[in-house]
């Protein structure tokens, strides 16, 4: 039950029919790209993996929403998709900057960029709770921190579900930033490869202008697909989540399946845009 009294809707299980449809959508998207522009097949698979990473990562981010803003529930007081987007896009910034060094460093830079944003944000959340509001961190979902062993029931103030960011939520936030930053960067990197290769033959302009166009297109598609995967996952979470120790975390396979289908379709359009 959430702090505002609404039940947590949605079951934990996976719907086999829906999963099968998602799988078919993914396969059809890959097949279409393979037939139209075979060189983009591997990048499309990369885009799908990127969407999956984002979707999985969003589940780690401790988000308390409106109740957290009154110290009524633990987590960060903002929306799931928005916080993940902040972290993931900061990662995309770092990853795009390091793209010239190749895929490994670019992905690592993207992951660290997202993780660093979350590490600093989560720290400042706890600083505000502790030093400006005088409230210690306490989880509402577990009695004991799985990492540090801190107990929580006595540290919850009366009439609340907990507050602040316990260490497990902090670690979850950083992990979410890492996955989100890496996923966003992977999408950007793969699309950039496709655009840099396909654009000169499609448009036939000078390479200088085309590089800017390729970077812009890949960047805006990466931002858009990031939001698609993050918002889809937010629907799966339904409201708030405390991090990897929250029972809602177990729902991640559903979001991953959904995001893979959504990323496949978005990636298909992003690639068809330049090859048709």
């Amino acid at each position: 039950m959430s702090a505002l009294g609404g039940g947590s809707s949605g079951g934990e299980g996976i719907n086999p029919t829906a999963s099968l449809i998602a799988l078919v959508i993914v396969l059809v998207a890959v097949a279409v790209v393979f037939l139209v522009y075979p060189a983009a097949t591997v990048p499309l698979i990369g885009v799908i993996i990127g969407g999956v990473l984002i979707s999985f990562g969003v589940h780690f981010v401790p988000v308390g929403g409106a109740p957290a803003a009154m110290g009524q529930a633990p987590g960060i007081a903002t929306g799931v998709a928005m916080l993940a987007a902040g972290g993931g896009l900061a990662g995309l910034f770092g990853g795009a900057w390091a793209a010239e060094f190749g895929i490994a460093i670019s992905l690592a830079a993207g992951a660290i960029g997202g993780g660093l944003l979350m590490a600093i944000t989560c720290l400042m959340v706890n600083v505000v709770y502790v030093y400006a509001m005088g409230i210690p961190a306490a989880s509402g979902k577990v009695d004991k921190d799985p990492i540090t062993g801190d107990t929580f029931p006595a540290y919850k103030s009366q009439g609340t579900e907990g507050h602040g960011l316990p260490f497990i939520s902090y670690v979850g936030g950083v992990l979410g930033g890492l996955f989100g930053g890496m996923g966003g960067t992977l999408i950007y990197y793969e699309l950039l490869q496709v655009y840099e290769e396909a654009l000169p033959s499609v448009i036939g302009a000078s390479t200088e202008g085309l590089t800017t166009l390729a970077v812009s297109l890949a960047g805006i598609f990466a931002v858009g697909m990031f939001l698609v995967a993050a918002v889809l996952t937010a629907y799966n979470i339904t409201g708030t989540i405390e991090g990897p120790h929250d029972p809602k975390f177990k729902r991640w396979p559903r979001a991953v399946i959904g995001s893979s289908a959504a990323s496949a379709v978005c990636g298909l359009f992003a690639i068809l845009l330049v090859v048709i």
Binding site: Q72, V128, I135, G159
Partner: protein, 303 residues
Amino acid sequence: MEEILFGIGISALAGALATVAGAAEDTESDIGSQGDPNSQVQLAPQMGYVHRIYNKAVSGEPPAYGLWVALAAGVAWALMAIQFNAILALVIGSAVAVFVQGVYATTAYLGRTASLAKFEQPVYIDILKSVTSVTMAHAFVAIFATVTMCFLMIEALGHPFPLPLMGIVWGIALGAAGSATGNPFYGKERQYQKYPFGAGLPISASGDIVRYAEAGQRSSIDNGWFTSKGAGPASGICFGLIVFFELWRTILFEPFAAGWGAVIAGVVLIIVFMVIDRYVETWARKTYGPYTEEAAPEEEAAA
């Protein structure tokens, strides 16, 4: 060497701009009740507490700032493409974005407040006139500082993104950092100032926000005055640290180990922040202590 020094100088300048942007962003959102505490401002009349607090929350802070900063960046970018002076272009771009913010704030306040008509919450035209311009002024500072920071990242540090895309990325990050850090302070400490310090708000008290000031009714501008002493600077430090360390680790350490240097520096920074967080958490537990007696003797589990 000179290039690295220049890069670090730009990182520091960008970090300073980000600090100003973060502080202004959070104060703007608190004056306009755009963050998560807006739920209480919206709820209060439904519980019978009619108030004079501004409420423009029809969008979260990250997408709203993503829009405004990208808009400012887009206009500035277009003006620079026709050979406008860069600073003039940035100012004009930010001014255009602030007018959009003003239209957004006006329609959002009217819409949200009018929807509470059946709970006898009036729409105050004097609030619209006095508070909207204050949020616009704060928004201008936040947008201009962020767009200038984006401009520096591209022109001085050579990031490949074009200015409008950079505006979306850092606008969303600005809103995420500002809302995450600033919301609890505004929500708990200001809206529920009459409830005891050092505890979360009981869920049963939701909606009972503070509506009166020292003299007369509380205005949203007073909320900006209050949060600019705590949540604003904290959000500024948060966003400033993010931007500074993101640039600093890349500028200084990317040349090492074929690019891996910046990644290793980032990992070290994350671990340092994690240790500081753990210190803050344990400090709070030791200093403030539990609210109730612990049920059983605390078992010391391995950390």
